[in-house]
Amino acid sequence: MKVVHASARKLGLVSCQDCHLLVRWPELAGRQSASCPRCGSELHQRRPNSIARTWALVITAMIFYIPANILPMTITSTFGSKQGDTIISGIIYFIRNGSWGIALVIFTASVFVPLMKFVIMISLLLSVQFKSVWRPKDRTVLYRMTEAIGRWSMVDIFVVTILVALVKLGVLANIEAGPAALYFATVVVTTMIAAESFDPRLIWDVLEEADE
């Protein structure tokens, strides 16, 4: 493989985000936009307003994360008495029952992964904003992991879905989705969109600017 050692942007090119065709970047005036000659998708040298959008989505997700943890995910009613279960109390339930494996899976998907996503996305944003040149490859790998792992946080929502479908035994036992379920789903969806709106190429732009 031969390398030109320059980014597409530096060479006056742009890579189509949908079909990866390399196109000459046209000079745009005012509100003009360019689209890919092969697939018609709109061309952007970098994802538009990447940093501001990602910040907005990450902060939104962090706000929703609070009620998602405080409020109950499920409300179980047995013989007229109601019991609310939060994410944490669900995990504690599994630990008490000796199901360590399941407790670990839920803890990873519902607590650890969302928190790690906040930490990683904020560090990436700050590193780009403060023009860090520190280990760009590792930061790209971190981004790639965040993008790939986010979907697994949905598992708790699906558990609730299955529980509400199965446990409908009238007065004997009944499970309803609690208010935290919607908040938590919003956290997962907004962090996924946040990861999609962050442009990892910004990590590398700083290095090229530093070279000049």
Binding site: M1, L13, S41, E147, V155, E196
Partner: protein, 199 residues
């Protein structure tokens, strides 16, 4: 030689024709730039058709049943969505319906729509937007996460009742593999070259 810019770090690189079943990675950041596939079109079609058959079984046959004493509660794949909707959780119901039922179907129909004409050397309208749609919905297809949810729910309810997995659960589990194999058999570069010409 094929010139490409890395989608993760924007480095422009020349890629020689790849031998089949090999991967080209970005020299700077290590992102996968291209993967060459063998029999891409045939394998994509085969797994997609298998997936659609399994999908039909997964959505129509009994999914999970819960036995507690004399009481038996049967459910289908959509039951959870319906229960959420009945409890007033409309947005959640829509989210689960989209990620586990609708988007996998859109993916498979999209693949058929693009790959059958490719196989038969035909040109159809809207193949390009359909393939773009397929690429965009991919992260939102979450059947494998749902499967993990089933396992957790089974353990959770295991203490108070017996959970009987139905035929649809088996089909659903196999469908995950079929769809994963179909998606990984897709050679996006080949599709774009055939759909849009080698620009």
């Amino acid at each position: 030689m094929h010139q490409i810019a890395c989608h993760e770090c924007d480095l422009v690189q020349q890629i020689p024709p790849l031998p089949t079943r090999s991967t080209a990675r970005c020299l700077r950041c290590g992102a996968v730039l291209l993967r060459s596939k063998s029999d891409s079109i045939d394998r994509t079609l085969a797994w997609t058709i298998a997936g659609l058959v399994l999908y039909a079984v997964a959505t129509t046959f009994p999914f999970l049943a819960m036995k507690s004493g004399a009481l038996v509660q049967h459910t289908a794949l959509v039951s959870g969505v319906r229960s959420l909707y009945q409890q007033g959780e409309t947005s959640l119901a829509i989210l689960v319906f989209m990620t586990c039922i609708l988007i996998p179907l859109i993916q498979m129909c999209g693949l058929l729509y693009v790959f059958i004409p490719l196989k038969m050397n035909l040109r159809v309208k809207y193949a390009i937007p359909v393939f773009r749609l397929f690429q965009h919905v991919k992260p939102w297809s979450m059947m494998e996460v749902y499967m993990l949810g089933i396992l957790i729910a089974m353990v959770k309810l295991g203490k108070m009742a017996t959970i009987v997995p139905g035929l649809a659960v088996v089909a659903f589990g196999l469908l995950i593999f079929a769809l994963t194999f179909a998606a990984s058999a897709v050679d996006a570069r080949l599709v774009w070259e055939r759909l849009g010409g080698k620009t």
